[in-house]
């Protein structure tokens, strides 16, 4: 058996193919593995408007598909509204010259909360976020950080109390140094029984719906009975299992936090959704929705 010397070119090509395929396999081997939770849907209104004057229902949709089986899949919701600039531990602190994490850590209220928690070994959630405001031609990117104490507090505080406590905080900073602050609660929406008209949670073929409490309908599960603290937990999920969430919201000024009565804080609201698979953060959607400044009956 001998080699055909006239096929030297072919051998060269084969060697190149061999080397390239080996390199390809090695580089694919190093490639980061994608999330096992597929974000199927994340829709929210383009503008948050008063129902009172516009007569509009705002629809929020969110859906994920499990690409692997999980022991636990958790979806957590938080709703935040703009808040005034907080007091800082150092009165001379200049937030615009800092970064979101330092700003958050310099806040007096955050330090008080941490101090009040004491020696708790269970950490609170601290998550970096990024969001864009505006449209394609005129957009502004904000980067920031969210502190969510609800998971830690949930160990000691009743859920019915927990979702009334302002315990989710965000500090965002734009590329041009503008700093905005958000404070919120861990729930599907602020004052759920006032603002949420319809809520539906699909897990594969199983659907659970909740509706606004009225005197007319008796066969309706009221929104108040939906899972507390905006946390949906599914155990032992299978591959390709789907979770879909839909919420219809109608808001009036009186059903929103009192800071919203001040026009400067009617710029954005935040609907923040996370999905954790086996305790690991896989999806983090920080939906900063522009809010209509006028049209609210004060």
């Amino acid at each position: 058996m001998r080699l055909n010397s006239s096929k030297g070119g072919l051998i060269g090509i084969l060697i190149i193919i061999l080397v390239l395929s080996t390199l390809l396999v090695l580089s694919l081997r190093r490639e980061e593995i994608g999330s096992p939770v597929y974000l199927a849907k994340n829709e929210h209104p383009a503008l948050f408007q008063s129902t009172e004057s516009r007569g509009k229902t705002m629809i929020f949709n969110f859906g994920v598909i499990c690409e692997e089986p999980f022991k636990e899949l958790e979806i957590r919701f938080a709703n935040m509204f703009m808040s005034p600039e907080p007091d800082f531990v150092d009165p001379d602190f200049v937030p615009n010259a800092s970064d979101p994490l330092t700003i958050m850590e310099s806040r007096k209220d955050i330090q008080m909360i941490k101090e009040s928690l004491g020696n708790v070994t269970i950490p609170f959630d601290s998550i970096e976020v990024e969001t864009v405001a505006g449209n394609v031609t005129n957009k502004k990117t904000y980067r920031g950080i969210v502190y969510d104490f609800s998971r830690t507090l949930g160990l000691f505080v009743e859920p019915s109390i927990l979702d009334q406590i302002p315990e989710v905080f965000a500090v965002l900073m734009s590329e041009d140094g503008e700093v905005i602050y958000f404070t919120g609660i861990p729930d599907f929406f602020y004052e759920r029984e006032e603002n949420i008209k319809y809520l539906s949670i699909h897990y594969n073929q199983n659907e659970t719906t909740y509706e606004e409490k009225t005197d007319l309908l008796i066969d309706v599960t009221p929104v108040g009975q939906a899972p507390r603290i905006g946390s949906l937990i599914f155990e032992d999920t299978g591959k390709d299992d789907q979770v879909l969430f839909q919420m219809n919201v109608e808001s009036r000024l009186r059903t929103l936090p009192e800071t919203i009565e001040q026009v400067p804080f009617r710029r954005f609201i935040v609907h923040y959704i996370r999905a954790y698979a086996n305790g690991k953060l896989e999806v983090s959607e920080f939906n900063m929705i522009p809010m209509e400044a006028t049209g609210w009956n004060v």
């Binding site: 022991k71 007096k108 020696n119 708790v120 269970i122 505080v157 305790g279 690991k280």
Partner: protein, 328 residues
Amino acid sequence: MTGRRTLTLLVASFLLGISVPVTISQSADSPLILIYSGDTPEWGQSLSDLIMGDGRFNADILIIEDRPTFETVVNFPRVQATVICPLQKERMALGDISDLTTAYFLDGGAVMGIGVACTTRYAPELGPVIFSITGNRSLSSKRMENHRVFVYNRKDVIPEINGDVETDPLYMEGYLAFYSADATGSYVEIPCNGTRHVLYEGDRSAPLMVAFESDDGGSSIAFPGLTVQSVEGKDNYYGLLLERPEFGELFLNGLKWAIDNSPRYQRLLGSSAQALENEANRRADLAEEAEKLEKRIESRRLLRLGILWTVGLVFCLAVVIRFVVIRD
């Protein structure tokens, strides 16, 4: 907790976003007393100094100026007692803090209220539910040391609270606050779900100091008559009240009594450690699962790449055998 568990917990903490441990030790926490004094932190600081100067309280003290922070922390497990004493009526939104403060009290917490916090007009829920009163409107006053003081008489006696205060009548700075009165102008007691002790009262039974043990919650002390203010030179300037040794003793004894008769802190002290341990274990288990899943996905990918590579190799080999190797 075993070393492996701790390590897994740290991994789990990291996996949950970039979670920040509040602290890394798990030593026993000292209790926390909250003082919600609103816009007048110096008033809160004065009360804090009183507490710190009394060896019976082994607690950290947090003076809170803003409503949202108070609402956030009042139901924390470390909170042993809360003193609600804002001097400004409307701005401190006492009505707004009601739900979370009431939840704390009904969970067995200790609450002390001074001034408007105990008055139904400004704090519709706090007065009746937590303090079992509607307010105070003592009209019997006299001038002493160039300012007006109100006159109160001793009624019920709780030795732990009255302590060495034998004074009768008792003079205290304050101002008018309102309550439900009958046709004769006398104070009308409201029904309460527990045991109420009026320790001092003014004319027409206007209560100055009320100790309340709730049947389904904690205990409270109310000083509805002490509606003081922060302006020096005024008759009801709080500095004048702080100079009264009787006030200091009743305040501290009352706070101690409320703490001793409120089960929440001790109850949570026991269950908190267990809750933390359970959560740590839960997170460790989930982290283990996450690690297993990651390994499974990684091995699957390796296997697929290996097969792909082998197929390529076999193909190249086949081409070589077919076209390059000459068989003799």
